[in-house]
């Protein structure tokens, strides 16, 4: 371990109200830590710049999963293990259950929370493409009250979110309006488990006689933020999946993404594979794969 523990301070407010109050009184000073799966790695490597940490692990207000007639509402403090195990999520939002199972290791899934994952805002995170395809909303809370924004507005830039310095992610809402839609989800990682995505995609579509009536798509690891592929959704809507459509969609994707070269992969690979995955997605959803 390369960090010096005495240079850090961590406090546990004990309840949500106290946590929000602390964040409001000293904006930006306290980094909320839930499962700590990201923070602990940074800390151990001696690279955690924030020295003041606020423990929000286990706050009951953040740890509920509620099923209402029009939405499944997942508390920000729910772990990926809980999301994976939840019956309604597995039944209606199976792509989220599946991507939850892709997160790190079992140990990671027992600690890592959905809100932590979104607030950490890695473009390579596993669950965002599914949340984009499901048209999720996020509920934010502060001493000033709560507000709800579409998840598409959450990520502003690489590792930068729409959260203000006094806000926590209270919950993620998944609207229950996609009965009968088919889905497609795929992670291209460096290996089959405990892998960081090189390309990650989730999509759902309403398909009738080979025609895409409506489609929603999200893609990760190909740009500074997880992308909702809205232009491709528009292009595909009302059309049959054939070589022409696929070529158009691939061209659109090419313009939307901005993959990088890093120690995990190359621009060329991410670009070509993103296109291949998109093609595989369209063919699979249309039943022509």
């Amino acid at each position: 371990m390369r960090a010096a523990p005495e240079q850090y301070e961590m406090i546990s407010p004990g309840n949500l109200a106290a946590a929000l109050k602390l964040m409001a009184s000293e904006p930006g000073r306290w980094l909320p830590v839930a499962g700590g799966t990201e923070v602990m790695v940074q800390y151990s490597a001696g690279r955690l710049p924030q020295r003041n940490l606020m423990n929000v692990w286990g706050l009951p207000e953040l740890r509920r999963i509620e099923v209402t007639p029009d939405a499944v509402v997942i508390g920000g403090g729910c772990t990926f293990a809980e999301i994976r195990a939840h019956k309604a999520i597995a039944a209606e939002f199976s792509m989220l259950a599946k991507t939850a199972a892709w997160v790190g290791s079992i140990a990671n899934q027992n600690r890592a929370t959905l809100a932590g994952n979104l607030a950490n805002a890695s473009p390579a995170a596993d669950s965002p493409p599914a949340l984009l395809a499901y048209e999720a909303e996020i509920e934010l809370i502060s001493v000033r009250g709560t507000r709800r924004i579409p998840y598409t507005q959450c990520h502003l830039d690489y590792k930068r979110t729409a959260l203000t310095q006094d806000e926590l992610i209270l919950a993620v809402r998944l609207p229950r309006r996609f009965a009968g839609w088919r889905d497609y989800v795929r992670k291209v990682g460096t290996r089959n488990a405990q892998a960081i995505s090189k390309v990650c995609m989730a999509a759902q579509a309403l398909v009738q006689d080979g025609v895409v009536e409506a489609i929603r798509m999200g893609m990760g690891s190909v740009a500074p933020v997880p992308l909702r592929l809205a232009a491709i959704e528009e292009c595909a809507a009302g059309r049959k999946v054939n070589a022409t459509l696929i070529a158009e969609c691939r061209q659109l994707l090419d313009k939307m993404i901005a993959p990088i070269d890093d120690i995990r992969s190359t621009i060329e690979y991410r670009r070509l594979v993103a296109g291949n995955v998109l093609e595989d997605c369209l063919r699979t959803l249309a039943g022509t794969a």
Partner: protein
């Protein structure tokens, strides 16, 4: 039950970081930030209270500033120049380990940069002379017959170039030691290591201490794979220097990032083959040019290169052969020992090349191999005569049958055309020499001992260490079998240089075959001593034997017997010409890999793996199977996942998130089969097994990928990015043909 199994499973086994000595300090290392340069100045940031720290530089070394191995060119601490990133320069120790990271960062080293080389090609071109005059750490020329005469009569001449990458050992436990010193007892090192006497030898020279004032004790060791063959000498040297200056015990344990960045890796390689073959697929001769990247210092490169050279021709009969080999210096941390020790590199080349030779001739890969296998009476590349019992053809037939090779080979090729998931099956046939190369065992002259305690416990005394492979268990099994007593009453003595004789380093797949045989001799001698003393008869129970041993100890003070190495008869080795009996025995194997290549993301999955081998008598089938499974798993990583990303000689992906090893989700079912042909001079007929399974999987897998894709892959690691590049090329070539 494994001897140390219960302690490991119950969590009572104590590894180096579990041990704390009174008053102990923690040590850390200031390392070079550049690849090569002259050290101009070292300054200590005044913000740090340096009075609290023990500080050591090269000036504090009482003896020779080197880690004694073969050529002694590896400095313990850089004094005037650095030759690779992460080279140790200054050592610090403090009672609070949390103070160290900041202090290490506060030591500023100014350099005058010097030109550096970072690949085999750059070193070969002498872009800069970074070692000696020509960057050549070691070279060999091995010749058999007259290869220059074969080219004119060849029906085909097949050339190829093959590359293999570096590989990190990734043992579970990082490197670590504790050093303590007193004038009376001298220096004691406790550590995670393979070779206590290597560390001993190195410390005697570095610390200028008499041999009996240096004691090295191996503690429970969490994996090694060759990575704890030479580097423990370095880290022990650092701890020794700190303990002498501080006057208090010092612990140095690397974290994962430091261990990956600073310690050894498998040598990267480049091998060129030129092969003359008839239209019937008979090999006439070959020229092989083999180059290893040795890193900045020679360390063990000469011996790794030696094994690579001898294995370069594979398991085939070459009437004429010339192997030229070189280990070249580059400015990365020195590459070192890693399971296989040069053989995986040269065997990847020959086994990939054999598929390509077969394709050129128009034969099936297995048929070309079958026609050229070494057989009893034929001679190896070094002229060693193959003994009776070696039957590669049988291993091949069995591996093909068990894997359904023939049927799949045809079916996959037929079905692949219309599939996005392309399937392939490939094989590799190979050998691995057990024990030290050439005269190594004779020079080493290993000794093993047994003794008995006053209460009749029987102990095996060797410097051969347990680091997961099962040494403790099989040596106790051998001793118990020879003594005619229960396994439970035989124990391992401590791996402590002040207690055990030097049975040699724990390397080279030599422990079962060579050291096991010595233990067998020592046990025979113990039985003989007790028989001669009239304490046991022909028949006895375990209790009777123990009672006899106990009585003997009571009467004579001790019961201790030894086994000394004796070379098998008629063994001859010429170190100059590289001719003769290169190894006492070889293990033989044929491996088959079945793969799927996904043309959406270009990932390769290994679906099935059949490993058939002949390793002499199998002493412990469970452990032997485990060795093969583990070796294959590690080699799947070598073939498909593990890529060291080098940036100016520094490993950029020195964390487990980004250095990708295969997980259990990436490993196929590994089906392990043994043929047993006892070796007369190994313990109960055993030959070596530990390294063999590292050799074959990479070429078998890449042969299978080439089969699946009809593309010619010649390098490992073969990552999806590489598959994509090649398949994209193939695609564009096809487009051109259509367009024309």
């Amino acid at each position: 039950m494994r001897k140390e199994g219960a302690a490991k499973v119950c969590g009572t086994a104590r590894y180096i970081d579990d041990i704390t000595l009174p008053g102990m300090l923690h040590g850390a290392t200031v390392r070079s930030s550049i690849a090569r340069g002259r050290i101009k100045k070292i300054t200590f940031d005044p913000a740090i209270p340096w009075g609290e720290f023990t500080i050591v530089t090269a000036a504090d070394i009482p003896g020779a500033n080197c880690i004694a191995l073969i050529q002694n060119d590896w400095p313990c601490l850089a004094a005037e120049v650095v030759n690779h990133p992460e080279e140790p320069i200054v050592l610090l120790a403090h009672a609070d380990k949390h103070r160290l990271a900041e202090a290490v960062a506060a030591v500023r080293v100014e350099y005058e940069p010097l030109p550096s080389v970072h690949s085999i090609a750059e070193s070969e071109r002498k872009d800069a002379a970074v070692w000696g005059e020509d960057n050549v750490l070691k070279s060999y020329l091995m010749e058999k017959g007259d290869v220059d005469a074969v080219w004119a009569g060849a029906d085909f001449i097949v050339e190829g170039e093959y590359e293999t990458g570096a590989q990190e050992h990734l043992y579970i436990e990082n490197n670590g030691v504790i050093a303590e010193y007193s004038d009376a007892a001298g220096l004691t090192i406790y550590g995670s290591m393979q070779c206590p006497f290597y560390v001993h030898k190195s410390l005697v020279k570095l610390m200028a201490l008499p041999e009996d004032k240096v004691r090295v004790v191996q503690v429970e060791t969490g994996g090694a794979f060759g990575g704890k063959e030479d580097y423990p000498s370095m880290i022990a040297a650092h701890a020794a220097l700190l303990v002498r200056k501080a006057g208090r015990p010092v612990k140095i344990v690397y974290d994962r990032a430091e261990d990956m960045a600073a310690t050894t890796k498998r040598h990267p390689s480049r091998t060129r083959h030129r092969t003359a073959v008839t239209k019937d697929g008979k090999l006439l001769g070959a020229e092989i040019d083999l180059v290893l990247d040795g890193g900045a210092y020679s360390t063990l490169s000469s011996t790794v290169l030696s094994r690579a050279t001898i294995h370069a021709g594979g398991c085939y009969f070459w009437p004429n052969l010339r192997v030229r080999s070189r280990a070249l210096a580059t400015n990365s941390p020195p590459h070192g020992a890693f399971r296989g020790f040069g053989a995986p590199q040269s065997l990847f080349a020959i086994e990939r090349h054999m598929d390509r030779v077969a394709a050129a001739v128009g034969l099936a890969p297995e048929e070309l191999r079958r026609r050229n296998f070494l057989r009893p009476g034929l001679t190896t590349s070094t002229g060693q005569v193959i003994p009776e019992g070696v039957d590669l053809e049988h291993l091949l037939a069995r591996a093909m049958e068990l894997s359904g090779y023939k049927e799949k080979r045809q079916r996959f090729a037929r079905e692949n055309e219309r599939r996005a998931l392309k399937k392939g099956i490939g094989l590799a046939a190979f050998l691995h020499g057990a024990g030290f190369t050439g005269s190594g065992e004779r020079r080493m002259g290993s000794v093993a001992a047994m003794d008995a305690t006053a209460d009749g416990m029987l102990r095996v005394l060797v410097s051969s260490t347990e680091f997961g492979q099962g040494t403790n268990t099989i040596l106790c099994q051998i001793a118990a079998e020879t003594l005619g007593v229960d396994y439970g009453v035989v124990q391992m003595g401590p791996a402590d240089t002040s207690v055990v004789p030097n049975s040699g380093p724990t390397v080279a797949s030599r422990t079962a075959m060579v050291v096991g045989r010595l233990v067998e001799s020592a046990a025979k001698e113990m039985r003989h001593v007790l028989t001669e003393a009239g304490l046991i008869g022909e028949q006895y129970s375990t209790e009777e034997f123990q009672r006899a041993a106990s009585m003997y100890v009571g009467k004579h003070g001790q019961l201790r017997t030894e086994g000394h190495y004796e070379a098998p008869p008629n063994v001859f080795w010429d170190d100059e010409l590289y001719r003769g009996e290169a190894y006492g025995a070889y293990a033989w194997a044929v491996y088959v890999a079945e793969v799927t290549v996904d043309t959406v993301d270009y990932r390769v999955a290994v679906d099935d793996f059949v490993a058939v081998q002949e390793v002499g008598r199998v002493i412990n089938p469970v452990l032997a199977t485990g060795q093969v499974e583990g070796g294959v798993a590690q080699a799947v990583g070598y073939a498909l996942y593990e890529k060291v990303v080098w940036q100016k000689g520094r490993m950029a992906n020195n964390q487990m998130t980004n250095y990708i090893i295969a997980t259990s989700q990436d490993i196929p079912p590994i089906r392990v089969y043994f043929e047993e042909v006892p070796y007369k001079y190994g313990a109960y007929g055993a030959k070596g097994i530990g390294e063999l399974p590292m050799d074959g999987p990479a070429p078998a897998i890449v042969n299978a990928v080439s089969h699946a894709t009809s593309a010619d892959f010649c390098a490992v690691p073969l990552l999806p990015e590489d598959v994509m590049t090649k398949l994209a090329q193939v695609k564009s070539q096809v487009v051109e043909v259509v367009g024309a």
